[in-house]
Symmetry: C2
Subunit: 323 residues, 2 copies
């Protein structure tokens, strides 16, 4: 993966210049919050996917790629600001999130600002296909987050609905980032669709892996504490598997743990032990790998090339980190 980053270093720094250039509100508080969130360790994976996708389709227009890279990163960042408020997050990537530093109100408003900044940059590209894709993507993301909220603490959540939630809230924007590269390169529909499918599948794989990490990762390395999803009543794939396979009394206990006001470290340890004994972690990891394979299969329409290999590497990377 390090090779992929370094192969695209130049393009990423151009996209980075575009991102920083876009941030200059006349309102000081807007600038403080946007600079904090945009310079707090985000990897720019969405701009990277957009750049590689454009290259894979013999990209035509550098300027538009940088501009579009900024747009997808702004959208992603807007959702982070709102998500942290929704989740009462105390930490993000190892540091205090904007809501701790400037409050929930500023995080909500500057999230709105970044959403509309993204769409105002997109409008400047004056291309119906791009604007339509981005507007639909943002709409689905908000629906996905709301669907997740409405199933908070719902022990009867199905795997199908869980997958729908993560497709909407996470995979749509990753998919759109890949498709945007193809649109800007004026690629034929088949290539656009292939890159959409690739992005959607790595997006789902990424979110399943991320949800699994919440039960197995080293809290310090991940930059956040373990068991956060459980604490918030967010039911993700490992827990879903456990709920469907554990004994009735364990299910009742899990129910009580999720209902409880406070949450003990020992409870988390017991949940993880139950997951291990029922193979729930393995199940989720394999599921993520399955989506990775589907993502790679979508690239079959492209002949072998350094860009295609980069995408293959990214597909593996999103599920292999930090276990």
């Amino acid at each position: 993966m390090d090779q992929v980053w370094s192969d695209h270093k130049e393009f990423l720094s151009e996209a980075e210049i575009q991102i920083q250039k876009g941030l200059h509100s006349k309102v000081a508080l807007v600038n403080k919050v946007t600079h904090h969130i945009l310079n707090s360790g985000g990897k720019r994976i969405r701009p990277l996917l957009l750049i590689i996708s454009a290259h894979l389709c013999n990209y035509l227009d550098k300027e538009r790629i940088y501009l579009a890279g900024g747009v997808v990163e702004f959208i992603h960042t807007a959702t982070l600001l709102h998500d942290d408020v929704i989740d009462n997050a105390e930490i993000r990537r190892g540091i205090a999130p904007a809501r701790i530093l400037w409050g929930n109100q500023a995080s909500i408003l500057v999230g709105d600002y970044l959403y509309t900044l993204a769409l105002s940059h997109a409008v400047q590209m004056d291309n119906f296909e791009i604007n339509d894709l981005l507007a639909t993507t943002c709409l689905r993301m908000a629906e996905g987050e709301t669907l997740q909220l409405s199933h908070n603490g719902d022990l009867n959540l199905t795997e199908a609905t869980y997958l729908e939630i993560i497709e909407y809230k996470t995979a749509m924007l990753i998919s759109a980032s890949c498709r945007l590269g193809a649109i800007i390169a004026k690629a034929p529909e088949a290539k656009k669709d292939a890159l959409s499918r690739f992005g959607k599948n790595i997006g789902i794989a990424f979110q399943v892996a991320d949800d699994t990490l919440d039960y197995v990762a080293d809290g310090d390395r991940l930059g956040k504490s373990l068991g956060e999803d459980l604490k918030e009543g967010k039911i993700t794939l490992p827990l879903l598997h456990l709920l469907h396979h554990c004994k009735k009394e364990d299910r009742r206990w899990l129910n009580a743990v999720m209902d409880a006001e406070r949450f003990e470290q020992d409870d988390l340890k017991k949940v993880i032990a139950l997951m291990q004994s029922h193979g729930s972690i393995d199940y989720a990891v394999k599921k993520a790998q399955g989506y990775t394979e589907d993502a790679k299969a979508a690239l079959a329409v492209f002949p072998d090339s350094p860009q295609r290999r980069s995408l293959m590497t990214i597909a593996d990377y999103v599920v292999q980190r930090d276990y």
Copy 2:
């Protein structure tokens, strides 16, 4: 004003159908919140202004007017959902706001949904000028709200900054609603600019009047309690005037009142009495009327017509309600 509403009844009901048709998410919670907020007594003043502006410019395209009417109402409604969270609102137009019924989280996310729904409808109009205007408007609105937040409780706020805040947070969308009517009617620049100016000035007049009502209106009739702005540390024109004209000891007392955790009904009565003795309410009312006059003057480019008279009536209406 009743005459204006009834003159445009047919067009408004078409716009209403468009608004309701636009609301059909597959996520039940999204539908609950959008239906609640969109059917809780909003007057549709922005779609009305858009319709009249389009008529005034010899409108060409009915469908686009209805579509655009929905867009501006969705944007307005999105901001209401977020504003209620920001302000910890307990009541809106006499009923419980979405944040009380479904929580802050749902209000934030469905606000995001309505913002992006608006922009996705706007994208369907496939017109750069429309999308550019709406994106810029949303950006300024978020900046205005953030600027207001960053001056919360700031007794050194200047009148110029207060006016900038309300221009951004309120007047921009009203101005855009008027301009959109002219854009859809393919009116010449001079008419677009005149309607922008008209909308901007009635928007500022409306907000100054609304801020003043917070100190003088009958709480029941307005559908919210009095003194809310003071309670939240929001410094508006009557208070600004008072702060600049009262005795030092009164200023110190006002400072203490705004810093206090709790807020007594007697404090509000004293603030209002001070405002009356210093002419602060009169000052704000006259200021609002000044903007109304500027709004009317902007319509000089149009010959007399029923539509022009309707706009004149609306200009008077926004500052004459409920005193």
